[in-house]
């Protein structure tokens, strides 16, 4: 590894010296702090904001009573800062290490994007200000939309969905609307077995019977099976491409042809668009709708679970059905269509979309440019194939390469070791790695889906590979306990999820209430 070939005394690649058990009074372990709930730290009357007295004590709240007590804890600012700083220190993050969660695209989140999203001209404008006072915001949305259209080759884009699943819903409603418009109500939606859970959930919510399409040996849609399932009551296929096994659907053009021939429409789950940006225009594959997770492909930060944004690109056939709000470029500047007009199917969300995500994504896109986006997807695919090639003999690859942006392994290499995929993942935590996505896609036994992304250096990927290889050797060598007892070096060890679900405790309650409840 380059990073260790120079310098001296770098301790990284050495095995860590085991230190003896140490008990502490506080429960803290050096810089790893124990921290109670915010509710356990409150005191009456204390607050971390200084506010002036209200100008009047008068109340004009009709027949509603003013509230007497809420139950919120009172803390000072230093306490709140410390509390959330400590909580943050219990999290893994891209900023701190490789985060190879397949399908989730944990790539670098540039801080420039954060700074730009916080310009008062973007952050401090209201969605219902007069249109004349938000021309820059509309232009930014329009620019981003223009990039998305050019990169996908599609006819239109609905910007408002709040995340990928919301985008799926938007796209599928558009398909519904188009079918309805031609008086052709259909009943079934075809979804590969390997699909992300949001696909069947979305289709089912719209009242469709969801039918699984099986996969071939090599991890793609079984074309013959698909043909057999297609028919006049199939409304759409929902296909992820590159698919959730990290593979490009080789027959996708043919699939599109067959789907259209059957009078159905083609919804493409674009969560993995990041593998092909700049290299393949989805329009050229024959799709009708695709959501783009700005929080994956265009790097708006995941933020511990959100927010995201899921604009949906649409074909000519679906464009008329796009929901409000929509930005329109006109001769005298930009306007915002805020009411569903014409064939528009309605509205997905209040206001005009996840503006804060748009500014970040646009900043990311302008920074990369056409050449950079192409290089990014190339590097993402290169890194994944490098992992696949380097580990396929040590671990067990689900499919031969080449893969796209993520490499899929199964648990055959753990056979008879007493180590499960979950154990293997937990041992990675002790090594300072967030595990890959595990047990997804469901079609692969003990699946491990590794997406390094383009943000990782070769040095980092090399160390990751070496670590996984070492763990695999260790598992095979019979040291199952190293895995089943893992993690042991994390802020918490394995958590009892069964107990959590059996008698759910979803919120803190003051002791008195708990006692009452127990009575």
């Amino acid at each position: 590894m380059a990073m260790n070939s120079v310098g001296r005394g770098d301790t990284r690649p050495q095995a860590d010296m085991a230190s003896p058990p140490v008990a502490t009074f506080t429960g803290n372990r050096g810089l790893q702090m124990e921290e109670g709930l915010i509710f356990e730290q409150g005191q009456d009357g204390r607050t971390a904001v200084d506010l002036p007295e209200p100008k009047t004590a008068e109340l004009r709240i009709g027949n509603v009573k003013p509230r007497t007590s809420i139950g919120l804890p009172g803390l000072s600012e230093p306490q709140v800062i410390r509390h959330y700083t400590r909580l943050s220190q219990k999290n893994y993050a891209i900023d701190a290490g490789l985060y190879p969660l397949g399908s989730c695209t944990m790539k670098h989140n540039p801080r420039l994007n954060e700074a730009m999203a916080r310009l008062p001209g973007f952050a401090d404008i209201h969605p219902l200000q007069p249109i004349s006072t938000v021309q820059g915001a509309l232009e930014a949305i329009d620019s981003l939309a223009d990039w998305l259209l050019k990169l996908t080759g599609m006819a239109a884009v609905a910007m408002s969905p709040g995340a990928g699943a919301h985008g799926e819903q938007c796209g599928m409603i558009a398909i519904d609307a188009a079918l309805e418009a031609r008086g052709d109500k259909r009943k079934r939606v075809l979804v590969p077995e390997s699909a992300h859970g949001t696909n069947p959930a979305t289709a089912a919510a719209l009242g469709y019977a969801v039918e699984a399409i099986p996969a071939t040996e090599d991890g793609r849609v079984d074309l013959e099976a698909l043909k057999a399932k297609l028919g006049p009551d199939v409304a759409a296929i929902m296909l992820t491409n590159p698919n959730t096994c990290g593979l490009f659907e080789r027959d996708i053009v043919e699939i599109a042809r067959l789907v259209h021939e059957a009078g159905a429409l083609f919804y493409c789950d674009g969560a993995n668009f990041n593998a092909i940006v700049g290299r393949v225009r989805p329009a050229d594959l024959g799709i009708d709708a695709m959501h783009i997770n700005l929080h994956k492909t265009f790097s708006t930060p995941h933020g511990g679970g959100g927010p995201g944004a899921g604009p949906v690109v649409l074909s000519e056939a679906l464009a008329p059905y796009a929901p409000a709000s929509a930005v329109v470029r006109g001769p005298n500047g930009f306007t915002l269509v805020e009411h569903a007009e014409g064939a528009s199917f309605g509205r997905m969300k209040a206001f005009a979309g996840q503006m804060g995500m748009f500014t970040r994504a646009l900043t990311y896109i302008l920074s990369h440019g056409a050449d950079g986006l192409l290089q990014a997807s190339s590097d993402a695919v290169l890194n994944a194939n490098y992992v696949l090639a380097s580990l396929k003999d040590t671990m067990s690859a689900a499919y031969d390469g080449p893969c796209m942006h993520e490499a899929l392994f199964d648990d055959r290499f753990l056979k008879d070791t007493g180590v499960t995929t979950l154990d293997f993942a937990k041992a990675m935590l002790d090594e300072g790695y967030h595990p890959m996505t595990v047990y997804f896609p469901l079609v692969i036994h003990g699946a491990m889906l590794i997406e390094p992304t383009e943000s990782e250096s070769k040095e980092a990927v090399d160390l990751f590979i070496a670590t996984l290889a070492d763990l695999a050797r260790r598992a095979k060598s019979g040291d199952a306990e190293h895995f089943t007892a893992a993690p042991r070096l994390t802020p918490r060890r394995r958590l009892d999820e069964t107990a959590a679900a059996r008698k759910p405790v979803l919120r803190w309650r003051p002791t008195e209430q708990l006692d009452e409840a127990a009575e």
Binding site: K65, A117, S132, A165, G303, A350, S457, L495, E497
Partner: protein, 448 residues
Amino acid sequence: MRYLPLTDDDRKGMLARIGVSSVDALFADVPEAARRKGKIEGLPDHAGELDVERQMKALAAKNMPAGSVPFFVGAGAYRHHVPAAVDHLIQRGEFLTSYTPYQPEVSQGTLQYLFEFQTQVGLLTGMEVANASMYDGSTGCAEAVMMANRVTRRSRAILSGGLHPHYAEVTRTQARWTNFTAIDAPADVEGKEDLAALVDDQTSCVVVQNPSVYGHVRDLSALAEACHAKGALLIVVVTEVVSLGLLTPPGEMGADIVVCEGQGIGNALNFGGPYVGLFATREKYMRQMPGRLCGETVDADGKRGWVLTLSTREQHIRREKATSNICTNSGLCALAFTIHLSLLGEAGLTKLARINHATAIAAADRLAKVPGVTVVNDSFFNEFTLRLSRDAASVTETLAARNILGGVPVSRLIAGQPQLNNLLLVAATETTTDDHIEALAAALKEIL
């Protein structure tokens, strides 16, 4: 490219290990016809920070920031002062650049704040349980109706005429395409609607907003009783979360589901998003809730910790049988909310709400004195409706030309109802000064 660590040497070495001669070879599965040679046309190449910053600042400069002018715009998004601590903390990489806490051992930070968030939402709304957030209030509203349909096994929802029109549209869109019926009550400008009469034993729920989009504040207890008498649920929507610092919470009025736009605490206006939907209900409906839930448990050493729980409701486990298709939610906005609310605490939130109310009273009283202006409301929290002597949309444009953002014309929200054209929604918060109110009053006096 500053974001890409691989060097050409790296790439060569890696291709060699893979055993292919070029990256193109890795894309062999792409049908020939769909492979693009060279870059996609019509798009510029990469640019440095300075350059991108200039482009983005040029765009930002074409907008009129709320903080730069007297500002009275609300109608579902409110400009509150967010302490600097909030933005500092949510930008810590450990929060900002982490994923959904699927590996709880290294995600206790996220999980614990979600648990705190759920608790805060429960306390604020007066409900028993809350989820870990929805995209925003409007999508939460639609999800609440779908949940009510599941709980009651009925499919007729009644939407109040005081519900924010965007919320109603989102819910109607859901209704239309996921097969339930949404009955719209007429615009309730005066805050006098009585929905109880509409509730029947086909009704799954009544959706009512408090304060209403026109600002009226109402006790909903009777409505709750009417709903319950017919086996329907009462869904209460709150678009200005700060109001919960002053008003009896929906939970105490008998609400079964409370949906709230949480933006007002911790989050900037952001031209409409990302925001954060609060979603709370009674314990007995817990398993019908959409979205993620964080629950308490213990680890292998017996230490308290948190995990995502009850995920058998969710799409990634339950797939086509999930309670909702939501996956990514509003995590970081929820964190901002949680931190801001922790800073406020009981004393702070209560006082903040009082200040908002007092400022709005001052604004209403001052504006009522302007000829051509009538205040519609008897009751309100921090927003009220004005009836102007002429078209409100053109008035707001004229005000904007004078660098005053004077409110939201109702016609912006509801198209095609000319009788609403003279109505203007005016919001005031703790950021509104006497000078701002005076400036608006003076300008209105000249314009009207």
